[in-house]
Subunit: 117 residues, 2 copies
Amino acid sequence: MEENHHQDKVCTSKDLLAVRDALDALSGKWKLEILISLLNGARRFKEIARDIDGISDRMLSKELKELEANQLVERKMYDAFPPVVEYNTTAHTRSLHTVIYALKEWGYLHRKTILEN
Amino acid sequence: MEENHHQDKVCTSKDLLAVRDALDALSGKWKLEILISLLNGARRFKEIARDIDGISDRMLSKELKELEANQLVERKMYDAFPPVVEYNTTAHTRSLHTVIYALKEWGYLHRKTILEN
DNA sequence: CTGGATCCTCAGGGATACTG
DNA sequence: CAGTATCCCTGAGGATCCAG
């Protein structure tokens, strides 16, 4: 980033805000599951709903909207009856791989650490 | 990890649980701020409280306890009056660096992505 | 099928006061 | 200083019904 202010802090307050932004985009009980479902292929509303155990239509709709607002899913509507809507990932979703990988690895490590003591 | 089951999924359901474990350990409004404060050096209760704008004693106490349960902070009590308690990071906290770095980088990228459209 | 509208519950977190 | 105890409020998320 452009300015550093010569601090050797682990994480500046600006950095903290960025971390929060990232976490906020993934916040909510179902977002990750939805993204992972879509990372395995484009899906329609009901297909995602069937894919994710326990999610209600209301929540799926809400989370999809937030993900779309954050450009993490793309919504394609086909003019037909009954309605056909297809959800898919975006380039931005793919950029999440590093984050998901880091969280996953640390999650496994964390569980191991906790169980060992 | 030991078994793969020959799937080429981006993220298995076991992986998702690990991601959730990671996120859970960092959940709560103040945990990251507390960790970052401590990553810049050991601190006493009141020092952390002063470091973090807006946090109440109650929340600081609660979050510190959860972090300690997750071995992300270490609590040292010195027998003295008035009481002296010092909080510090642990080896496990340091292992979080990859995660925080990934989240930070993606957070900046995310903001850039959103603002561009 | 793809959702929107409504109502309800509960846990996260704020404010304040108190104790060893 | 280092926390606890209490009370309260808001918003995330569940359940159910309705509409195009």
